[in-house]
Amino acid sequence: MTGSKRAVLLLLAVLAAALLIFPESRQSPLQTIGRPLASAIALPLRAVDALNQAIETIRNRYLTLRHVREENRAIRQELGRLRMDNAQLREMAAETDRLRALLRLRAVIPFPTVAARVVGRDPTNWYRSIVINKGRKEGLATDMGVMTPAGAVGRIVKVYDYLAIVLLIIDRTNAVTGLVQGTRDEGIVEGTEKGLTRIKYLPLLSTVKVGDQVITSGLAGGFPRGLPIGHITRIERREAELFLSAEIEPSADFVKLEEVLIITTPRETSDLPANPFPLRPTPPDRRDAGETR
């Protein structure tokens, strides 16, 4: 190392020592000298800082989004599972309600019944029938009446060991003897094309009116007397005909049939008790209309 270089190094060392040792107040001239440089540096510094901030923000957002996405996916899965559970629970609750209604009805009606589940509908579009999951092994036979808590549904037309076919009362080929509750007029109830029922052969002088309740008469068809069939919605009076007929809106909902009761021995017992159908009471106006007759 040459002498000049040594001198420069020494000077730098002394300056450094002086800067470290000098009191803070003595350093202000240096700061004054460095201020323009600091100002010049501030601009790129801020720019770099802003860029850094932006990158940091984007990174944070990405991480947050990623976390939220995962969380969202988990929540969606949980929601789907809960919805499924909820639907199942609702279905079970509805089934329990229906079965409870069937049990209540079974407890109050004075004849033996067998409960069955509806497992299918007629394989053709030409007949209105249902397939139930009970058959000969459970003591079922043809012509037995089938009902729900709402009222009469149909009668068994075919029976096998483990299933049976029930022809609904809304089928045109089915016929049940009915009775207008208010006027005590008897007739034949059969299905119509519109999926309703009609009572035929009512006396021409009958005072039957819209809203009257029609019940089973118990004379034939596998039903005891007193099962609700429906209420009259329209009366058909045609000239030169010896009888009246009336359209009936059935009490039972044939679209939503899921469980039914089969009456196994209807004719050996007496009539139904006063009100065995608590779920579908007759509307007050119609009941009043029936009682005033």
Partner: protein, 168 residues
């Protein structure tokens, strides 16, 4: 293998139609799956199998139906025979022909069923039945049958058409 397939069809087609009525019905009208199956078998394989399957599927349908007669048992083999004969006398079975044939056979089946119900004394008005049941079901049957036929042809395209002369 073929016997196994036919057994599975007999055991499944009608129960599927009975149980899955909600899923397969459009506007309250369901296709006649047995008719579709019999027609497709007649068109793709031949009238002998179609008649056999028609008897089996028609019988199963009548067992589970509320009808008092055995209309399907009589009708389905006839439909299988017609589909088989029509197919046998074709050099190329085109899809438009299959569509038309299925539609016509379904109309024929519906008309016979209407007559049977009318003979029982409880038939609906013919035009109401045609509008509400026969025509919609025929459309449904035809479309379903052609789709099924197309699938089967893609899966097993080995139908060997015979002319009437060859057949004789």
């Amino acid at each position: 293998m073929r016997a196994l397939t036919y057994t599975a069809l007999i055991l499944l087609v009608v129960p599927l139609q009975v149980v899955l009525f909600d899923w397969i019905s459009i506007g309250g009208v369901r296709p006649d799956l047995a008719l579709v199956a019999v027609c497709v078998i007649g068109l793709h394989i031949g009238e002998r199998e179609a008649i056999g399957m028609g008897i089996a599927l028609g019988f199963t349908q009548d067992l589970l139906s509320g009808s008092a007669n055995w209309g399907n048992l009589c009708l389905k083999p006839v439909i299988g025979l017609l589909a088989g004969l029509a197919s046998r006398n074709l050099v190329n079975l085109t899809l438009p022909f299959a569509l038309g044939l299925l539609f016509a056979l379904s109309i024929f089946s519906g008309a016979v069923m209407f007559l049977l119900k009318s003979l029982a004394g409880a038939g609906p008005d013919f035009f109401a039945a045609a509008r509400g049941i026969i025509l919609p079901q025929a459309c449904y049957d035809a479309v379903l049958g052609v789709a099924l036929l197309k699938l089967i042809q893609r899966w097993a395209p080995d139908r060997a058409p015979l002319t009437a002369i060859t057949y004789e």
